[in-house]
Subunit: 396 residues, 2 copies
């Protein structure tokens, strides 16, 4: 009688959330220090100290009517200008402020972009494993999400499978690198190939396929030789959905942006569609205080060396205990091969050792579990014996 | 090829925005002090000083990982609890924290509520004059907006016209009081009648009609004897969409909430639908810092005596000059009868005197113009001779 689809979405929790709630209950029962919660991607490292200083300075010195007032729907011009200068200094782009649309974080960036691009029945392709909300966002925009499996073990794009999945209905492809949940970074060669393939396909059907990069983890890489290529350097019809949630540890403040490549064939229409979709979805503007903050701290990140140390410690330990692990180049997730065929059963057994990890099934990839290592180094240390016992339980 | 409807929404500016942009240009040409801009509803009174103090205290004393981290999608429990205690102390409600869903402001409250309630083809009724974005929000949610004209001159609900507009397809009715653009407050008798009518209609078709109150202007009334009745006190199947944008002068920070009446027949489904719609639209949570702020300043308002003084001065002057004006009981808008049949021509002529006012046509009501008097008292004073000259120009 009311909207059943949304009632269902609001009733059925994602299994990540289920596990997170189980963890809270379990911590109350046996003590926080005895539960090893690797369920959620909530940054454990605080925002850099410059964030606190800048927030206080802004609040102290700006006129409150201006500071807390509406910005234009696209976002404050000088903020957008600062962001494009930063992007242009890092990549081969020549963006202007009018390529940027400030948003309430990555989820808003994606829903707005998908609502701008899609018509009823259009198809969106992504690569499994993938962030499960892509399906929710695509379906709300009237589209259908197709998940193309990645190559086994490397979790890089499988171009043969991608070619099969492309159809005249394909409107967009979403790439997420560094990837949640695999931690894999798609390399430059992959993106060049991807661009060429999509160009041929667009040409064939005289209908551009848009490449959407979902980039909340862009700044979270751990080796100097790992570069996350910028899709605009490889493909004209492209849109970057960025968020400061993970790079600045501000996930609850909802601040990010959409950048539309001004080399897109239909740049003006795409940007107008984004403005229109933002309006229709009820996003009046991104929070003004946090827009002004970004102007001051653009380019900074939290201390991500903590995540690197966690990755190294966890990777070394897990491989030593006999787990097969994709070594992550970025983000703060590790994708571990389950020690039995059914990853859900594996994650259930992990609970016997108070280990909370999420089955890959939810990310469209069976046989694996996601370990979110954005946790305190002390908790990680305490959890290692539990990972060891879990592995040993399969050897008996 | 991409979504035409959203491209159109992003291309065609509302005429309020058009006028606002014209004003910016004109100010650059002839000097800010010579343009009398009454086009936009941007609060001119700063947030109360407690807002600045509370923001600084929160930033100084809270753990940044907690403060800037995700809250649950519904919002922080203790924040929601503070809000319900406040509502229950003012009205006859017995709400709990689980009736509240924190949002990024009133527009988000409305889009989320409409997406929760509507199925394709459902009808939503509102009363003209009305805030034009209701149409955009309703259509995005798959519904159709019907505007029922208010009684002439009083701008109160016309129940005969409402009865004619109700149909088996009616899913919701939106009331906005104090009203944008008329400034009128719907009285208790009106709301009792409205509730009775909707109950009979719901009963007849065995299909509840939901009453949605859009309440950004609730706290903006100017006389002690003017009370804005709370719809939950009169009607069970009701939802309040609240925003702190105008009451605390924080429109750019995007903070508000949805309150679902726990006496609704399908309370659990409606609340779940709201959670689901919030998820599908990409609203992960409302900005955490501003949620925590609301916990500290809930119940405070900006100094609205400035708006009262503006209203009194403007009302006295305009009636003296011969304008017919609906005396507003609240909000910061005055609805003035145009001095010729075509209100658009009237507003065009006003520009000759550097007066920027918006034709009522955009609000679904011909023959009137909206004057937003949330301006500085000095500008209002300077503008009065222009209003006088405009009136005189029609007497020649």
């Amino acid at each position: 009688m009311i909207n059943e689809k949304n009632v269902r979405l609001g009733t059925v929790r994602s299994s990540i959330r289920e596990l997170f709630e189980y963890g809270k209950k379990r911590k109350a029962e046996i003590g926080e220090e005895n539960v090893f919660d690797f369920s959620i991607g909530n940054p454990s490292v605080p925002a850099p100290p410059e964030v606190k200083l800048a927030l206080k300075e802004i609040i102290d010195t700006y006129d409150p009517v201006e500071l807390h007032g509406y910005t234009s729907a696209q976002g404050d011009y000088s903020v957008r200008n600062t962001i494009t200068e930063y992007i242009n200094s890092r990549f081969k782009t020549e963006l202007t402020a009018d390529c940027i649309y400030m948003t309430c974080g990555a989820a808003a960036s994606l829903t707005i972009t998908l609502n701008a691009l899609l018509n009823e029945g259009d198809e969106v392709i992504t690569f499994a494993p993938f962030f499960p909300e892509y399906k929710v966002f695509t379906e709300h925009a009237g589209g259908k999400l197709l998940a193309v499996e990645c190559e086994e073990e490397t979790f890089q794009i499988d171009f043969k499978k991608l070619e099969k999945a492309l159809s005249p209905k394909t409107k967009a492809v979403i790439v997420n690198s560094p990837n949640n949940p695999s931690g894999v970074v798609y390399g430059e060669k992959s993106l060049i190939l991807l661009g060429q393939l999509l160009e041929r396909h667009s040409e064939k059907y005289k209908n551009p396929v848009y490449l959407i990069a979902d980039e909340p983890y862009r700044e979270l890489t751990f080796e100097k030789d790992v570069r996350v290529p910028y899709i605009m350097d490889f493909y004209a019809n492209s849109v970057v959905c960025y968020s400061y949630s993970k790079s600045l540890s501000l996930p609850g403040e909802r601040i990010g942006y959409i950048a539309v490549n001004n080399k897109s064939e239909n740049f003006a229409e795409v940007y107008a569609g984004i403005c229109g979709a933002g309006r229709a979805l009820g996003y009046v503007c991104a929070p003004n205080l946090f827009q002004q903050l970004i102007k001051k701290v653009c380019g900074l990140t939290s201390d991500i060396s903590v995540y690197k140390k966690n990755r190294d410690k966890l990777y070394t330990a897990l491989t030593e205990y006999g787990y097969k692990v994709v070594k992550p180049d970025g983000a703060f997730y590790m994708f571990v091969k389950a020690l039995e065929e059914d990853a859900k059963a594996f994650c259930e057994r992990a609970k016997d050792y108070e280990l909370l990890i999420v089955a890959g099934d939810d990310f469209g990839c069976r046989g694996y579990a996601r370990v979110s290592y954005c946790v305190s180094p002390e908790m990680l240390e305490r959890a290692l014996p539990a990972f060891k016992k879990l592995a040993e339980s399969y050897k008996k």
